[in-house]
């Protein structure tokens, strides 16, 4: 009898069905489609290292670019890459990835190109730091010239600054031109 009451109640109420175009919204914390922000990525490779099913990998075009590759068909949407990304370049968006007709090919694969930049000091191609990081490091713009340095040159500049701090007043600073090995 309780069942009869339930089903007759259902009959009197409108149906709870949602039309295909009006599906329930996904919770904001849902780990759906993976997004990559090439301008924040430093190509450190942490995401490829922590990815359990090996859905992420990097390829290089030496001197020109580094590519971040992601194969949705191998992802288990665990979110480890997002957690471990030091520059927050990877975000798991709540949007549900749509179904696709193409086979393991184009639709299921994402590629994000990170362009290398030549170092303003030594000319070596390198992955630039994210703009936000650079703003945090060189906020005042005092040493604006260091912005375009490659990691090696940044290291050289930092040590040169350190050395100059020890020099007495009026002494000549360290000679410009000490090149790092490549």
């Amino acid at each position: 009898m309780a069942m009869l009451k339930t089903i007759l109640g259902n009959l009197l109420r409108p149906s709870r069905t949602r039309a295909p175009a009006d599906m329930p919204v996904v919770p904001p914390t849902y780990r759906g489609a993976l997004g990559h922000d090439a301008s924040r990525c430093t190509a450190c490779g942490t995401c490829a290292f922590v990815c359990a099913p090996k859905a992420i990998h990097f390829t290089q075009d030496p001197g020109v670019s580094v590519s971040w590759h992601f194969f949705i068909g191998q992802c288990s949407f665990c979110g480890l890459c997002e957690q471990n990304c030091p520059t927050q370049a990877i975000h798991l968006r709540s949007a549900v990835p749509g179904s696709m007709n193409s086979a393991g090919g184009d639709g299921l694969r994402l590629e994000s190109l990170i362009h290398l930049q030549p170092c303003t000091r030594c000319g070596a191609a390198h992955v630039p730091l994210p703009a936000a990081t650079m703003d945090a490091l060189w906020a005042a713009g005092a040493e604006e010239v260091e912005r375009g340095y490659c990691p090696e040159c940044r290291r050289w500049a930092a040590s040169a600054r350190l050395r100059n701090a020890f020099l007495p007043e009026g002494a000549t600073p360290a000679a410009e031109g000490g090149r790092h090995d490549r």
Binding site: M3, L4, I7, L8, N10, L11, R13, S15, R16, T17
Partner: protein, 302 residues
């Protein structure tokens, strides 16, 4: 109009294939929609049973290895033909077929043919699930036929004749009511609906006895089931609903009564879970038996 033509018209047009198929689809849609609404769902679109059959007609037929092709393909045809012929006998208003003495016997026989076809279809397919379904169908038919046959035979007893028209002319009395209840008792099992959906237990033994059927033969089985639903509801209406002197009014009353019966049966199907074969068998032989005995006694007391 010669007798042959009237039979052809009755089988092919009214109340046969041409009208019964859309009516059957309408009734099937009504049942599915009602089940969905009772479960709080949206339910299928109006043309769904039609689309199902049309799609199956356009599909390939896969015949399993080691199966007798002739019997395999003939069974759905025989089933459909028997159901349509049975419907042609039912004296719906405007039915051109003349009433024959003893046509109730013919009707009851023809109504058993689809059941027989289902049983054979299960065994012919050589599928173990199909054989289980066929065995269940065969045993269940021994159970539900007791109240079903008694309901009709009691009416024939009251009328004193095995003729459909005579049945309709019987003055309305308590036997009508008792026999109708007995008939309704057997109806869910005849339609293979829920408490007695033992032979077509869709997730328990995968599918019903046409598990190995595909394409047009399956479409014919579906069509035969649709017409069987029409046959059962209209038979109930014709035999147990008192007729008015105006045939068009009768027709409307019969169709409405058929829909109401389906609604009740569907409500029962949605509210209950599937019984085991032994439980169903016991139910029909105890309660169906008691109902049959009371109905038969009422015909004698009168």
């Amino acid at each position: 109009m010669s007798a042959v033509w009237s039979y052809l018209v009755a089988i092919a047009v009214w109340p046969g294939l041409l009208f019964a198929a859309p009516l059957g689809w309408l009734e099937l849609w009504f049942m599915r929609k009602l089940v969905a609404r009772l479960q709080g769902r949206q339910g299928p679109p109006f043309f769904q049973p039609f689309f199902d059959v049309m799609k199956l007609l356009g599909k390939e037929t896969v015949i399993p290895k080691g199966v007798n092709r002739g019997i395999f393909l003939a069974l759905p045809l025989v089933s459909l033909a028997a159901v349509t012929a049975a419907l042609a006998i039912v004296p719906l208003p405007g039915n051109p077929v003349p009433s024959l003495p003893g046509d109730i016997v013919l009707l009851l026989y023809l109504m058993e043919v689809p059941v027989l076809c289902e049983v054979l279809a299960g065994y012919v397919s050589r599928s173990i699930y199909g054989q289980v379904a066929a065995m269940r169908e065969a045993i269940l038919s021994l159970a539900y036929n007791l109240p079903f046959l008694v309901a009709i035979i009691a009416m024939a007893q009251v009328a004193g004749s095995f003729q459909m028209r005579a049945l309709q002319e019987v003055p309305y009395g308590p036997v009508h009511l008792l026999a109708a209840l007995t008939f309704l008792l057997a109806l869910p099992a005849r339609m293979k609906l829920n408490p007695f959906s033992i032979a077509n237990a869709e997730h328990e033994i995968i599918a019903d006895s046409h598990i190995e059927y595909s394409g047009p033969p399956l479409a014919l089985f579906k069509l035969s089931h649709a017409i069987e639903v029409v046959l059962l509801t209209e038979l109930f209406a014709v035999v147990f609903i008192p007729a008015t002197p105006w045939p068009p009014v009768n027709l409307v009353v019969y169709l409405v009564a058929g829909i109401l019966v389906l609604g009740g049966v569907t409500l029962l199907a949605t509210a209950t879970a599937r019984l085991r074969l032994t439980q169903a068998f016991r139910f029909y032989w105890i309660w169906g038996g008691i109902a049959s005995a009371i109905t038969m006694a009422a015909t004698l007391v009168r």
